[in-house]
């Protein structure tokens, strides 16, 4: 009954025996107490992706990033030597939020040589050093050199900017990403500089929304409309070609008939017109003979690799030579901010521009179905009508994710207890 070979244990899930095959609790997605625990255990200890090098296009640029779960705002800069740095976005003088425009609750970005606190005019360089104290001689024995911004650990992998709020991260970024994720850096991310960005405030726990993007079991029933009316089949099945776990991270590769090779009658008129759709523009850019970093298991008819990088970054690379990234930022136990970026090799013609536009339109159309439905999932979970839920082999990544979250929270509590 399987289309693709399973591991010798008989299933992907059994191949990772630490997961078990029992029912899974989603109390971690409804409990206010658990949310408070994961804020510290996860969002102040894990490496978090806060942007891409493209967000800091030249020396002297910066952006701010609100991390509600970690109870802070970050200021990420590229200094005049080109080094990317991150700081708590907080003035050393009296704790005012240093950089904002419009309202302090909104993120901002820009370029300049220094940051001036709106409150009392203290100034800081792009390297976080304090350069000016207003009425300095009124203070009592202060030394500007000791009054810089609070630095946050910051590193870059494959153009993705990560921060870590721990005083001393347990691992470097590369160690943290590990041997499964790091080879993805061979993918030519740097060539894909044309971006479509989306943002949403969703009424579900952050993990509930991530779950919808780390299994495709839901696609035939929920997204029946991805095929034309005559070919819709809510009973169609989905099977991932390859699943892999490594540390807190996980991935799936898909295989199947590529959308751009479907018979015309299966497709919508605008897919044929725009030569694009839910797998991206059909006419792939020329990335050379061999695109590195993709399809680690060498599956035939490879479609996508979906990497779930703990805790809240998803990167999908597509066979058609583009990629997207999703980030899920908790704002409370049952709300989160969803950020999506689609990245393409820049269009050089109107036809290419339209193919990208149609792909970006398509992603939003189907993501709205996910977002609308997950509102209902959160409500269902909060009813606590059931306390455990059966997960199938195609939902192995969901199972692994919730176990990883539980492990991180438990390990952090144990470390705190041991330190007391």
């Amino acid at each position: 009954m399987s289309t693709f070979p399973r591991p010798p244990e008989g299933s992907w899930t059994a191949h990772y025996p630490q997961l078990g095959t029992g029912r899974v609790s989603f109390e971690d997605s409804v409990s206010p107490e658990f949310y408070e625990l994961e804020r510290d255990a996860i969002f102040r200890r894990a490496w978090l992706n806060v942007g891409r090098v493209n967000d800091l296009p030249r020396n002297g640029t910066y952006f701010t990033k609100e991390l509600a779960a970690a109870r802070t705002s970050l200021l990420v800069t590229r200094d005049m030597d080109g080094e990317i740095r991150a700081f708590h976005n907080v003035c050393r003088h009296r704790g005012n939020k240093l950089v904002w425009s419009g309202t302090p609750r909104q993120e901002s970005c820009g370029a300049g040589r220094q940051f001036v606190c709106k409150y009392h005019g203290w100034r800081y360089g792009l390297d976080g050093g304090c350069t000016y104290v207003h009425q300095e001689d009124e203070f009592f024995g202060i030394d500007k050199a000791l009054l810089g911004l609070a630095a946050v650990h910051c590193d870059v992998w494959a153009g993705f900017i990560f921060v870590n709020l721990a005083p001393t991260p347990a691992q470097t970024l590369r160690e943290y990403l590990g041997p499964m994720v790091t080879p993805l850096e061979g993918f030519p991310f740097h060539l894909m500089t044309e971006r479509y960005s989306f943002c949403a405030e969703n009424a579900s726990n952050w993990k509930v929304f991530i779950d919808a993007f780390q299994e495709y079991y839901h696609v035939p029933p929920l997204h029946t409309h991805q095929l034309g009316p005559a070919f819709r089949n809510p009973e169609a099945t989905f099977e991932g070609a390859h699943y892999q776990l490594d540390g807190p991270h996980r991935m799936v590769s898909t295989s199947g008939t590529r959308k751009h090779t479907f018979p015309a009658e299966h497709l919508y008129p605008s897919e044929l017109l725009m030569r694009s759709g839910n797998t991206g523009p059909w006419d792939a850019p020329d990335l050379g003979q061999h695109v590195a970093g993709v399809n680690p298991a060498g599956v035939a008819q490879w479609g996508i690799d979906n990497y779930q990088i703990f805790p809240n970054l998803e990167i999908i690379v597509y066979e058609r030579g583009w990629y997207l990234s999703y980030r899920f930022w908790p704002t409370s136990r049952n709300t989160h901010v969803f950020e999506a970026d689609l990245w393409f090799v820049p269009a050089t013609t109107a036809r290419e521009r339209l193919a990208r536009e149609y792909a970006a339109v398509t992603v939003k159309e189907y993501a709205l179905q996910d977002a609308g439905t997950l509102d209902g999932t959160q409500m269902g979970l909060e009813a606590r009508a059931f306390t455990d839920f059966p997960l199938n082999d195609q939902e192995i990544l969901v199972r692994h994710f919730h176990k990883t979250v539980a492990d991180w929270v438990r390990e952090h509590q144990q470390a705190l207890a041991a330190a007391r």
Binding site: S197, P269, S270, A350, R353, A360, V361, L368, Q369
Partner: protein, 111 residues
């Protein structure tokens, strides 16, 4: 009557230009939500058959240096992409089961 908005070859689409030549997706999305099904079918039925010719026309113009009329034609085709989901896929303004969800496009290439 004011001057034409689209290239002369696409004068037949002028009646839709004021409504659907919108430079950003947020504007096009709001227009989609504010339009009736009849209005969107009317636009789709007029624009879709002309779209391939419009793409061929635009491919003869440098994307980075488009004159205003060509830019508006491209914007109209972007509106067609958005309205095509209403007409071809959902038969309603919003995707089925959207509920109260909302996803905002906050940046995009221009034109």
């Amino acid at each position: 009557m004011s001057a034409r908005l689209l290239p002369a070859e696409f004068a037949d689409l002028e009646p839709y230009a004021r409504t659907w030549c919108l430079p950003t997706e947020p504007e096009r999305w709001e227009r989609r939500l504010a339009s009736t099904m009849d209005e969107m079918h009317g636009f789709y039925d007029a624009c879709f058959p002309r779209a391939e010719a419009a793409i061929v026309y635009l491919d003869g113009v440098e994307l980075a240096a488009m004159p205003d009329d060509a830019t508006r034609l491209l914007e109209m085709l972007c509106s067609l992409a958005l309205v095509s989901y209403v007409v071809e896929v959902w038969q309603q303004s919003l995707p089925i089961d959207t509920g109260s969800a909302r996803i905002d496009r906050i940046s995009e290439p221009r034109p």
